[in-house]
């Protein structure tokens, strides 16, 4: 990657301001195999919002989330969570990966998976104890899966698997949640359960960032929205920015100048 100078941002809001914000992204660029996937992202997410991240396939939605959680290297830019690096505030962050990212044939029960949410608190070498199990069971109960705790995970339906992943994030009792397509291919019951859960989290002052695919339900479920197509097309209260014009800008024409430029960049490097 060509050397992109790491410039400290002058226009940063005052420290007190950014401390209160759950997520601030400055100037974020991420590239896979030299091809930029997200470009120059600047984003500030206020506390207690349900935020949808919306955009076409390959718009970099998952990449954005993964870059926030230090899961992939950033080419440039900074991410701060409650004014600190992710490394420092890790315990306040819950992560729900895509369901397809794991092998559901793995020999563990739903309870085992949810208990993994407590591993961070347990730390090295300590075994899963009664307290972790109790917490895990509680979280499973919250997503309506208490009866399925001891099922091997391949015997759960797709929606139940998704809820298991949610429960694993809940067990941490984080303040900000990153969810990668929790609504992908779930049944109606699961969709309702997830929405209720999101609302409940919001009432308790939590912030949720959710990668979402169904445009029809965005205004109904989320009060904040980030329209993403490699760069941020628009971000703000859903009521204001979820407009035909913005959606056209986000989805209209895969061959936007930006992606063409990215292709070109990849070819010459």
């Amino acid at each position: 990657m060509s050397a992109v100078p790491k410039v400290k941002i002058q226009a940063l809001p005052s420290v007190a301001d950014s401390k209160s914000l759950p997520l601030v992204i400055r100037d974020l660029t991420v590239a896979y195999h030299r091809k930029p996937v997200v470009w120059d992202i600047d984003l500030e997410i206020p506390e207690g919002k349900l935020v949808s991240i919306v955009g076409p396939n390959g718009a970099g939605k998952s990449t954005l989330i993964k870059a926030c959680l230090d899961l992939i290297p950033r080419s440039s830019g900074e991410v701060s969570i409650y004014g600190e690096t992710y490394r420092k505030e890790r315990k306040r962050v819950g992560y729900v990966p895509q369901r397809e990212s794991v092998d559901w044939d793995f020999p563990v029960s739903a309870l085992d998976v949810v208990a993994m949410g407590t591993y961070g608190q347990l730390g090295w070498f300590r075994r899963v104890n009664k307290r972790s199990k109790a917490l895990a069971l509680q979280a499973l109960d919250r997503v309506g899966l208490a009866d399925y705790a001891h099922r091997q995970i391949s015997q759960l339906s797709g929606g139940q698997q998704q809820r298991t992943f949610l429960a694993r994030a809940l067990v941490q009792d984080a303040d900000i949640y990153f969810m990668d397509e929790p609504f992908a291919a779930v049944d109606a019951a699961t969709e309702r359960a997830i929405v209720e859960l999101l609302k409940e989290l919001q009432q308790r002052g939590k912030t949720c960032l959710v990668v979402h695919h169904d445009l029809a339900t965005v205004p109904q479920y989320f009060d904040w929205t980030v329209l993403l197509n490699m760069r941020v097309v628009a971000a703000g209260p859903t009521k204001e920015i979820f407009t035909q014009e913005n959606l056209r800008k986000t989805y209209g024409g895969k061959l936007s100048l930006l992606s063409e430029a990215a292709e070109e960049l990849m070819r010459i490097q």
Partner: protein
């Protein structure tokens, strides 16, 4: 082979046999455990690459030994060489994967064969050296348990203890790593370190096992017990434990048979024993074995057949009842039942036989036709009721057209549990007639049998 020989071997009376058998048992336990993690981490082929890549290291170590003035065949030096080139092989795979668009499997294929090829070339050079032929390096390829000595025993003991204790201490960490690496990383676990540690343990087991089963067969010893164990349980701890047991047992049995029958190499026998365990597990495994699955399918098929038969009988009786005196048991002609569904004479007869065995119908005869028993009528009412409840649900809530609801309902109703039926009842209480045990009327016209 005398009976007393068998006893001698089984009781480990002979010093040499005892050493070899205990060594292969220890190796089997360590292999079973690491193989379990390797299998679940989807790194089986990585183990294969690792073992094949050890050969050039063994040969180079021999050269170095000769150059340093020794006789070359110093075991620690050879194993060190094996470790270094094995790890180098894995590193090459990672390098190719990270710096090109070539995928894992192709990268491993390339590395595995190139390293092995280089090893074979070097080995030919070694055998042409003065001491080379006597060094017996080719035993690393196919394994040669008979040549094991006390130092091998100590090496294997240390390796096995390390592998067992580290896996016990890091069980939680390894489980997370194998199941969801990305989440582990998000939670702050040093995934690369853990992965490296796992690979180091696999390397240790592989290198320690080279002499026993050889670098070609060691992968089978690693993977087969774990794959076999998976058929018996859905819990990771039990699977690993079972894998350790199967690995140990294969090592013991393989080495024992090899000691009894001259000219049968232990490495191959161990792998064959492990493979037999795998085959047995695949067939008879209680969780995912082939037979268990077949049994489940057969049971479902039978239960579906029975439900079809009962509903057909009920609906025929019901049609009669509508003409007058309610539903009562009376003989139904075989032909009439046969016309209700697309089933062959043979299929229907099989259903009837099973229903008779279950006491749902009385004996079937040409003249009398089929007669339900009291219990049969009750069951038939229940089955029909479930079917209709499900149909009503589909029409009401899932917008299924009335004309095709029968078939859609048929696909699901056989797996309705008691809980679901209760839910259906609660939902449909206003649709179906109030009486909880009454069979609601069919929402679509029922085609009469001929």
């Amino acid at each position: 082979m005398e009976f007393s020989d068998v006893i001698d071997v089984l009781l480990l009376r002979n010093y040499n046999t005892r050493l070899v058998v205990i060594c292969t048992m220890l190796l089997g336990c360590a292999c079973g455990l690491m193989g379990g993690f390797l299998l679940l981490r989807k790194r089986s082929l990585m183990g294969d690459t690792l073992s094949h890549a050890t050969l050039p290291g063994v040969c180079v170590a021999f050269f170095v030994g000769v150059l340093l003035g020794g006789q070359g065949k110093s075991l620690p030096l050879l194993l060190l060489g094996a470790t270094v080139s094995g790890v180098l092989g894995c590193a090459t795979v990672l390098f190719i994967r990270n710096n090109s668009r070539i995928k894992d499997d192709a990268a491993m294929g390339i590395v595995l064969s190139v390293y092995f090829g280089a090893g074979v070339a070097l080995l030919t050079m070694v055998t042409k050296m003065p001491d080379g032929a006597a060094a017996g390096l080719e035993s690393f390829i196919y394994g040669k348990t008979a040549s094991m000595v006390l130092s091998d025993f100590w090496l294997l003991t240390v390796v096995t203890l390390c592998v067992l204790s580290l896996s016990a201490v890091l069980f939680k960490e390894f489980r997370l790593l194998c199941f969801d690496e990305v989440y582990a990383s998000a939670q702050g676990w040093p995934v690369r370190l853990l992965d490296g540690l796992l690979l180091a343990l696999v390397t240790a087991v592989t290198v320690a096992g080279l002499q026993a089963v050889g670098l070609i067969l060691i992968i089978a010893f690693l993977i087969t017990p774990a794959a076999a164990a998976r058929f018996w349980t859905d819990r990771l701890d039990r699977m690993l434990l079972l894998s350790v047991v199967i690995g140990g047992a294969s090592g013991w049995l393989g080495a024992s048979v090899s000691a009894l029958v001259p000219n049968l190499p232990a490495g191959a026998l161990i792998v064959l024993v492990a493979a037999s365990c795998f085959l047995l597990s695949m067939l008879c495994g209680t969780q995912r074995g082939v037979l268990v699955r077949l049994m489940r399918q057969l049971r479902l098929k039978r239960s579906i057949g029975r439900q079809h038969l009962l509903r057909a009988l009920y609906e025929i009786l019901e049609a009669d009842g509508e003409r007058g005196d309610g539903i009562s048991i009376r003989p139904v002609a075989f032909r009439q039942v046969r016309g209700r569904r697309t089933w062959s004479d043979q299929q229907l007869r099989r259903c009837l036989r099973l229903a008779y065995n279950d006491g749902l119908i009385d004996a079937v005869s040409k003249e009398d036709g089929i007669i339900l028993t009291e219990a049969g009528l009750e069951a038939a009412a229940q089955v029909t009721r479930n079917h209709r409840l499900w149909e009503l649900y589909l029409i009401e809530y899932a917008d299924v057209a009335t004309s095709r609801v029968d078939r859609d309902a048929d696909a699901v109703e056989h797996v309705l549990g008691e809980k679901l039926v209760a839910l259906l009842e609660a939902k449909l209480v206003k649709l179906s007639s109030a009486d909880a045990l009454e069979v609601p009327a069919s929402p679509h016209p029922i085609t009469p049998g001929d």
